[in-house]
Point group: C2
Chain length 580, copies 2
Amino acid sequence: MRFSELYAPTLREAPSDADLISIKLLIRGGFVRKVAAGVYAYLPLGLRVLKKIENIVREEMDRIGCQESLLPIIQPAELWHESGRWDDYGPEMMKLKDRHERDFTLGPTHEEIITSVLRSELRSYRQFPLSLYQIAVKYRDEIRPRFGLMRAREFIMKDAYSFHTDWESLDKAYKKFYNAYSRIMDRIGLRYLVVEADSGAIGGNESHEFNVLAKSGESTLLYCDCGYAASDEKAEYMLFDKSNSVEQMSPLERVETPGVRTVEEVASFLEKQPGDIVKSLLYHGKKGYVMTLIRGDVTLNESKLKAHLGDQSLRLAEPQEVLELFGVPIGFIGPIGLPDNMKIVADHTVKPLANFVVGGMKEGTHYVNACYGRDFNIDEWADLKMVQEGDPCPKCGKALKGTKGIELGHIFKLGTKYSEKMNGYFTDENGNSKPYIMGCYGWGISRTMSASVEQLHDKNGIIWPLSIAPYQIIISALNTSDEQIMKVSEDLYKILQKKNYEVLLDDRELSPGVKFKDADLIGIPLRITIGRKLKEQKIELKLRTSSPKDVEVDEKYSKVLEKIEELLNNYNPGNFLEVR
Amino acid sequence: MRFSELYAPTLREAPSDADLISIKLLIRGGFVRKVAAGVYAYLPLGLRVLKKIENIVREEMDRIGCQESLLPIIQPAELWHESGRWDDYGPEMMKLKDRHERDFTLGPTHEEIITSVLRSELRSYRQFPLSLYQIAVKYRDEIRPRFGLMRAREFIMKDAYSFHTDWESLDKAYKKFYNAYSRIMDRIGLRYLVVEADSGAIGGNESHEFNVLAKSGESTLLYCDCGYAASDEKAEYMLFDKSNSVEQMSPLERVETPGVRTVEEVASFLEKQPGDIVKSLLYHGKKGYVMTLIRGDVTLNESKLKAHLGDQSLRLAEPQEVLELFGVPIGFIGPIGLPDNMKIVADHTVKPLANFVVGGMKEGTHYVNACYGRDFNIDEWADLKMVQEGDPCPKCGKALKGTKGIELGHIFKLGTKYSEKMNGYFTDENGNSKPYIMGCYGWGISRTMSASVEQLHDKNGIIWPLSIAPYQIIISALNTSDEQIMKVSEDLYKILQKKNYEVLLDDRELSPGVKFKDADLIGIPLRITIGRKLKEQKIELKLRTSSPKDVEVDEKYSKVLEKIEELLNNYNPGNFLEVR
C-alpha cells in the first residue's frame, strides 16, 4: 500500500476524553475514531489489525474442530425469559422493541440463541460432542463507557459453545480450548498469564481467564512460582486453621465511640489494631438479608460470598436500608442482638479471634471483648477473603505475587445450566432423556487490539507484535523528488510484496521528520529508510524497538533481503518491556 | 471436512412458513435457521457460502483501491437529525434508547456515519478522491419479513462511499464501481442484468441496479437488444408526442354510473374501452395534495411521480381522506371542479385524448366527453407511466422485453446531498470551501446467497456455482465398512485437499440413497461416488447438473484427477437453466 493513498489520518494530539494510552495512540495513529460514547469506527489500519487478530483466533478454533457459524445480533426476549436472564442481566443489556412492540436485546452473549437453535435438532447422543463458534459484534450498555475499546458498548468477540453427553467429554473439550487459547496468546506474542477465575453470572463450575499483562489492567492477578495463578476474585490462600485458643474471655462491654466510622477510626479511637476489629457487612440476596463478618484488616471478596451462597444477585445493603432495618447507622451494626432468623456467615480470619471489637448496634457505640460462641453464634464459616500479594499460596504456602492484567479470553464449564432451563435434552444410548452438558469460551477480539497497545508502546507510539501489525514493513522514501531514491524504494516495495511481506511505501511529499514520527506512531515493526546514504550504496534498517543499522545495497538487494528476514524472524518486542 | 463431523442437519421438509424455494432449500440443506421473523442464524455450511461471497466482493473492492473499514452498527440519532432522515426513514428504521435514554438506530445504511467520521478530517482537496467500504450487518424493520434472506430484518451488506472534489472524479469512480460490480457478477457466475434505476430515498442523480435473473424476483426489468435496460420504476419509453387532434369536442355530460368503481367496471358500464377512461389519483406530499391523471389502461409509476415532483414523501391519499376532502368516494373523483390551488399533473398518455371519461365528483356519477383545456386545465405534463413489456424502447423504438430480477447491487451518484446537510466541506486549490461530492455503492451479501438458489436449483435441491459452493467436491463413500472403499476414499480426500480443492468426505454410516439425496440437496458441484464398481477399478464422477460417468482408478489417480479438473473447469450451471 502506498501511504499517499492510504486513509490513515494521524493526529498530533489525542482528544481530551481519551483516557488510556491505548485509545490515545489508536486515535492518533488513525486506527479508530469515536462515533459515540463506547462506539467506535475502525479505519483501514485498525481493521487490518482486527482482521489479523480474528484470523489467528479463527485458525486456532478451526484447528480444534470448532466450526464457524454466525448467530443473529438481535435476540428475541422470549429466549432470555426462558433462561431467566432477561431481568438478571440488568441495565447493561441493550434492549429494543420492533415495530410490532416485540422485545429484543442486542446480544451481550449467545448461550440462549445457540441453545434454542440446536435444541430441536441436537437430539441423539450420536451427534455429540459438537462445538460451534462465531466472530461477531456484541453489546454491553456500560454506565460509563471508558478505556476506549476496552470497555466499549459495541465490541467484537469470538464466542464458542460446546455440547456434550458427559462431563468427561466436556473436560476434554475444555482442555482443547485451554490449549488453543494458549496458542493464540503465543502466536500474538504478548506476555500473558492464565489464571483460575470466578465464573460469575455466566455460571458453571470451572473457569479460566487469559490475561495480557499491563500496568493499566483492570484485573488483579495473583501468582506463584509453583504454577498457581488466579484472579483476585477467585484466588485462595493457604489457611492455617487455628481456632481461638483464648486463655481468658474478658467480659463483653459496650463503649461509646462517637463519630468514628471506619475500621481505622475505630481502631485508633480504642487504641487497638485494625486486626482486632471484626467488620460486619450486611448483604441482601434472593433469600433476604445475611450478615457477614470479616477481620478488620482484610477485604471481603463479594465473588466468593456469591459463590458460597449460590446467589449472583447478592448486593451490599444500602445505608438507608440498614437504618430502616436496625435503626442504626451502617458503621455501628454488629452480630450481637440480631434477629434469630438472620444468618451470620464469618470469614476464616475471624476464627482465631477473641475479645474483639464489633459494632454496638446503637449509634455511636461498639462492643469490646466480643467472643463468638458466647455473645453470638456463627452459622457458617467460609473463605470470603480478598487474597493479596504476600498471602500464602494455597498450593505451596510461599508468598503470592501480584500483577495487573487485561482479560482477553475466558473459558467456562457451564454444565447443564442452560440446557435444563431451555429444554436442551438428548436421548442417550439407553433411550433416556438427559440435558446436555455445555461449555462456553469467549475471546475479546477488539479488546486484544487495545491490550496489545497497553502492553507494548513507548513515548513515540505503538509497538505492534509482528503477528498483528497492520503492515510488517514501512519504506520511508525520504526525498520523493530524488529519482534514485524513488527507484530503489519502488524496486524494494515490489520485491518485498512478491515475497509476501506486507509493505507500506511512504511516498508522501513530507519531511523525513514527519515520516519517522508517523512510522513510530503507527508502530510498524521494521522501517527501511532510503535517503542520502544511498549515494554510498547504503540504506537503513530499523526495528521499531532498536537503533538503525546500515545495510549495503547490491544489485539484487540480496544483503538487504537477508537482513530483513533475519531482523523480522527475531523480532520479539514483548521482551523489550519489563511488565511482570 | 468429514461429513460425520460437520454440523449440517438436513431436513426432509421445510418449515411451513418458508415462502420461497431459496429459504426452503437453505433450511432443508442445513445452511441457515430462523431465529425470529426476518432474523436468521448461519450454520457452518451457510457461513462458508457467505464468506465466499464476501471474499469475491472484498477482492473486487480492494482491486479498485477502495479501502476496507468498519463502521458501528448502532448510530446516534443526532446524526440522522442532521441529515433530516430520522423522521423520513419511517418505521422501517429500528430504533433504541440506551440506559441514559439517548436515541440510537440500528443502521439501515451509513451515509450519516461515514460523513460524520470524515468531516473533521477530510479537509483539503489533496486528500481526494477517497473511497471506503465495509462488510457489515444492517437492519430494516420490515412490516412483514418474508422471502427468507431476501427481505430479512437483519442482513449483511457491503456498502461503499466515495468522496470527490468534482463531478468528473465521481464519474470515474462510478465507472470503476460499475465495472467492479460486473466483475463480481461474472465471478459468481449467475445470469444477471444491469439496469438504470431510480435512486429513491437515498437520493442523487444517477443510479444502476445489478440484478440476478430469477422468476421469483421482486424487480421487474425491461430491456432491449439495443442495450437499453432499466427497472420498471425507472424505465422510459419512446414517446410519440401526439397532441389531441380532435375533429369535434362533444358536449360534456355527467352520467349516472351507480356502483361502478374500477376502470374496467366504468368502461364496461359505459360500453367504452379502458383506454377511453382517464384515471384520477390524488396524492399527498410535502406541499399538500396534488391530482394526477393517467390513461385508464396504464399504471402510474410512483417513483416517476416522486422524482418529477422532487418529493420522496409522496403517498396515495387514503379513501377516508378523499371523502373528507371532496365529500366523494375515491372511485368518483376527477379533475373537473377541483379547488383552484390544487395542482394537476397529467401523464403523456392523456395528451392525445379527447371526449374521455373522468370521475363526476359526485358519488355514482362520471363525466363523459371530458376534454382538457376546455373542462379543466393541466398544470404539468410528465412521464408517469409504468413501462411494460412491449412498450417501445426509448433508445431504438423496438418493443421492450421484460424479465424478473433480484437486486443485489445498487450504485448511486449522491452528489452533495449529505455533505451539504452535514457540513462535509473541503478547501479547494483556491482556498474556497465547497461541499464534497459523494457516491455510494451497496451490495447485498446475504441476499446473494438466496438469489443464487432462486436462480439455480432443481427438484432435488440447490445448485451452487463453483465460486460460492460451500465445498467443491463431495466424496460419497458408499459402504463405510468396506476397507477398500474407505482406503480409496481417504486417499482421494487427502490428495484433493493437497491440491487445494475443498472436499467434503461423506463418511457417515448411511445408505447410498440418503448420501446422494444430501449431496444433491446441499448442491455440491462435483460428486465422486466410491462404491461397488471399485472392484472393477472404477469410480463415478458426477457434476450436479449432469449424469454420472465412470472413470478408471489407477495407482496415482492420474485419470481421476485429470477428469476432475476438466469437469470443474467447465462447470457452468448458469447455462443449464433457461431464465431470460
